[in-house]
C-alpha cells in the first residue's frame, strides 16, 4: 500500500474515533445524569412524598405544595407566553415585510434569548413585583419566566411556519381565502406539531429555572396551596436549592427525590410531545 493512501486511511480512522467519542460523551453524560438522579431519587418517592406537605423543618414529609407551585407557575407562564409568542411568530413569518422594523424585532428576540436568567430575576423584581406592585406571586414569577420563554416560542413558531410549502398558501389564496384565513385554516394546523414541541421545550426550561423566580415568586416554606395568581408559592428548583444549602441534617434522598420529580415531569412531557409530533408527522408529509 502506498504511503499517501495509508496516511489517508489513518486520518479517516482517527476522524471516526474522535467524532464518535464526542457523540458518545454526550449520550454518556445524559444517561449518567438520568440514571444517577433515578438511583438516588427513586427510593424517596412514595405516595406520601408526592401528596404530603414538608414536615420537621423540611427534613421529612412530602413535597406536594412544591409540585403544585411549579405546576401553577408553568401553566401561568404557558398562558402568558404562548399567545404572544405564537402571534409574534406568525407576524414575523407570514406578514412582516423585510424592513428596519423587522430587523429591530429580530435583534430584540436574540437579545432576550441572550440575557442571563438571574438578570431576568432582578428585572422581574424591579418591574413586576415593585414598580407594577404585583408583589411576590405566581403572576410576577410567570411574567418573568414568560420573558425567558418568549424567544424560544417565537423562534419555534417562525421555524415551523417556514417549513410549510408556499404552494399550500397559494392554493388557499387562489380559492379566494384571505391571508388570515389561509394562516389559521391551512398553515397553522400544518405547523402545529412543530410549534407545540418547540414551545414545550421552552416551557420545560422555564419549569426548571431558579433564578427568575428567586425574587419574584418562590418562598422558602408555605404549606397552603396557592388560592390565586397573587399568592406566592414553593417551587421545585428553588426547593432543591434550599434543601441543599439551608437545611442541615436532612436526609439526602429528599433532595434527590425532589430533583427526580422535576426531571421526571419535564422528561415525561417532552416525550409525550415528541410522540404526538411523530404521530402527526405520519399524517402530514410533503
Amino acid at each position: 500500500m502506498n504511503r499517501r493512501i495509508r496516511q489517508a486511511r489513518i486520518a479517516q480512522t482517527v476522524a471516526v474515533a474522535v467524532t464518535g467519542t464526542a457523540a458518545a460523551l454526550v449520550v454518556a453524560a445524559a444517561l449518567f445524569l438520568l440514571v444517577y438522579i433515578t438511583v438516588r431519587g427513586l427510593p424517596a418517592i412514595s405516595w406520601e412524598f408526592l401528596t404530603d406537605v414538608p414536615r420537621q423543618q423540611m427534613k421529612a414529609g412530602g413535597i406536594f405544595p412544591v409540585i403544585m407551585g411549579t405546576l401553577a407557575l408553568t401553566l401561568a407562564t404557558a398562558a402568558l407566553s404562548l399567545p404572544v409568542g405564537v402571534a409574534a411568530g406568525i407576524y414575523l413569518s407570514e406578514y412582516a415585510p423585510r424592513s428596519r422594523f423587522t430587523r429591530v424585532i429580530r435583534l430584540s428576540i436574540s437579545n432576550m434569548a441572550g440575557v442571563p436568567s438571574i438578570v431576568y430575576g432582578l428585572f422581574g423584581l424591579a418591574l413586576f413585583v415593585i414598580l407594577m406592585g404585583i408583589g411576590k406571586s405566581i403572576l410576577a414569577g410567570a411574567l418573568t419566566l414568560a420573558c425567558l420563554t418568549l424567544p424560544v416560542i417565537i423562534t419555534a413558531t417562525e421555524e415551523a411556519l417556514r417549513q410549510i410549502p408556499t404552494d399550500l398558501r397559494q392554493a388557499s389564496l387562489a380559492l379566494g381565502a384571505t391571508r388570515w384565513r389561509t394562516i389559521y385554516k391551512v398553515v397553522l394546523p400544518a405547523a402545529a406539531p412543530g410549534i407545540v414541541t418547540g414551545s414545550i421545550l421552552g416551557l420545560s426550561r422555564a419549569a426548571g429555572e431558579t433564578a427568575p423566580i428567586l425574587f419574584t415568586a418562590a418562598v422558602y416554606y408555605k404549606r397552603q396551596l396557592p388560592d390565586s395568581v397573587f399568592a406566592d408559592v414553593m417551587a421545585l428548583p428553588y426547593h432543591i436549592f434550599i434543601l441543599a444549602t439551608q437545611v442541615t441534617g436532612r436526609p439526602d434522598d429528599i433532595i434527590w427525590g425532589t430533583a427526580f420529580v422535576l426531571v421526571g415531569g419535564v422528561t415525561a412531557i417532552s416525550v409525550a410531545a415528541a410522540a404526538w409530533r411523530s404521530a402527526q408527522r405520519r399524517k402530514v408529509r410533503w
Binding site: 392554493a171 387562489a174 380559492l175 379566494g176 385554516k185
Partner: protein, 266 residues
C-alpha cells in the same frame, strides 16, 4: 375570432390591453394584448422563462402576493377591470380559480379539500356542501374512485388523483375561469391523458387558460394558442402571435412561431 361551443352570452372572457409586469426595475412581460374567449381553452406556449406563468398569475392577481410585482395596462374580465377598485382580489379569485404545476392538496380529507372554497364563501349547510363536493369531484372525473371514502386523507391519493382533486377544489367555488399552470408536467402519461379529458369536458362551462411546455398538448386540447417569447435575456417577454390553434400549428404567421413549433429551438 375563436369561440367556444357555448359562447352565447357565456361569462368568463378576458380582454388584455398592453399588459406588462415589472419586478422591481426589471420588466418581465411587456405589451401583451389579446382576447381570451369564454368557454374555450386558451394555451400559452413558449420556451422556459418567457413569462407564460407570470402572465397567467396576472389573471387572478396572484402576482400581488409575490411582493414587488407591478402590473401595467388593463385586464378586463367580462368588461370589468380586475385591477380596479370595484373588484377585490379575494372576490376575483372565486371567479378565476387556479390549478398549480405540482398537485398541492391541503393536508386534510378529500371532502374538506373540495369544501374549502365553498366554506370560505360562508356555505355551512351540510347538504349543500355534500352536493358541491359530489358535483365538483364528478366534473374532475375523480368521483368514481373516491366516493366510498371521502374522509380519506388527500395525501393517500396518487399524484394524478391529487391533481384531479385540486381541479375539483378549484371548481367547487364555481369559477367562470380556471387557470392551469402546467397541470400535467409532474404526472405520468395516463394521468396526463385523464387531465386532458377532464379539460375537454370542463370547457363546456368554464374558460380555461393553460400554460404548457408541451406543444402536442397545446395542439390536442386548445382552441386558441398564444405564443410568447423573450428575444434576449435583457428584453422583456412579448406576445409573438395569438390565434386559432389549428391555424397556428399548420400555418403560423410569424417565422419565430414556426421555428418554435417545428422544434428548431426552445
Amino acid at each position: 375570432m375563436v369561440t367556444g361551443p357555448a359562447n352565447n352570452g357565456a361569462k368568463g372572457s378576458f380582454d388584455l390591453k398592453e399588459v406588462s409586469v415589472t419586478y422591481g426595475s426589471e420588466t418581465a412581460v411587456a405589451g401583451v394584448s389579446m382576447h381570451i374567449p369564454p368557454c374555450a381553452v386558451t394555451a400559452l406556449i413558449g420556451p422556459s422563462g418567457c413569462g407564460k406563468s407570470t402572465l397567467l398569475r396576472c389573471l387572478n392577481r396572484m402576482n400581488d402576493e409575490l411582493g414587488n410585482a407591478t402590473v401595467g395596462g388593463t385586464i378586463l374580465l367580462d368588461g370589468v377591470d380586475i385591477y380596479g377598485k370595484e373588484l377585490d382580489p379575494v372576490e376575483l379569485r372565486t371567479k378565476v380559480g387556479q390549478v398549480f404545476q405540482k398537485p398541492n392538496p391541503f393536508p386534510m380529507s378529500i371532502y374538506d379539500n373540495v369544501a374549502y372554497g365553498p366554506r370560505t364563501q360562508g356555505i355551512r349547510r351540510r347538504a349543500e356542501l355534500d352536493e358541491v363536493v359530489e358535483r365538483s369531484l364528478k366534473r374532475s372525473a375523480l368521483w368514481g374512485e373516491v366516493k366510498k371514502d371521502l374522509k380519506k386523507h388527500a395525501f393517500e391519493l396518487s399524484g394524478g388523483q391529487q391533481q384531479r382533486l385540486c381541479i375539483a377544489r378549484a371548481l367547487a367555488t364555481q369559477p367562470e375561469v380556471v387557470l392551469m399552470d402546467e397541470p400535467a408536467s409532474s404526472l405520468d402519461p395516463i394521468s396526463t391523458q385523464q387531465i386532458e379529458d377532464t379539460i375537454a369536458e370542463l370547457k363546456e362551462h368554464v374558460t380555461i387558460v393553460i400554460v404548457t411546455h408541451n406543444m402536442q398538448q397545446a395542439a390536442r386540447i386548445s382552441d386558441q394558442t398564444a405564443f410568447m417569447l423573450r428575444e434576449s435575456m435583457e428584453a422583456p417577454a412579448e406576445l409573438i402571435e395569438v390565434g386559432e390553434t389549428r391555424v397556428m400549428f399548420t400555418n403560423p404567421r410569424d417565422k419565430r412561431t414556426e421555428a418554435y413549433i417545428t422544434g428548431r429551438f426552445g
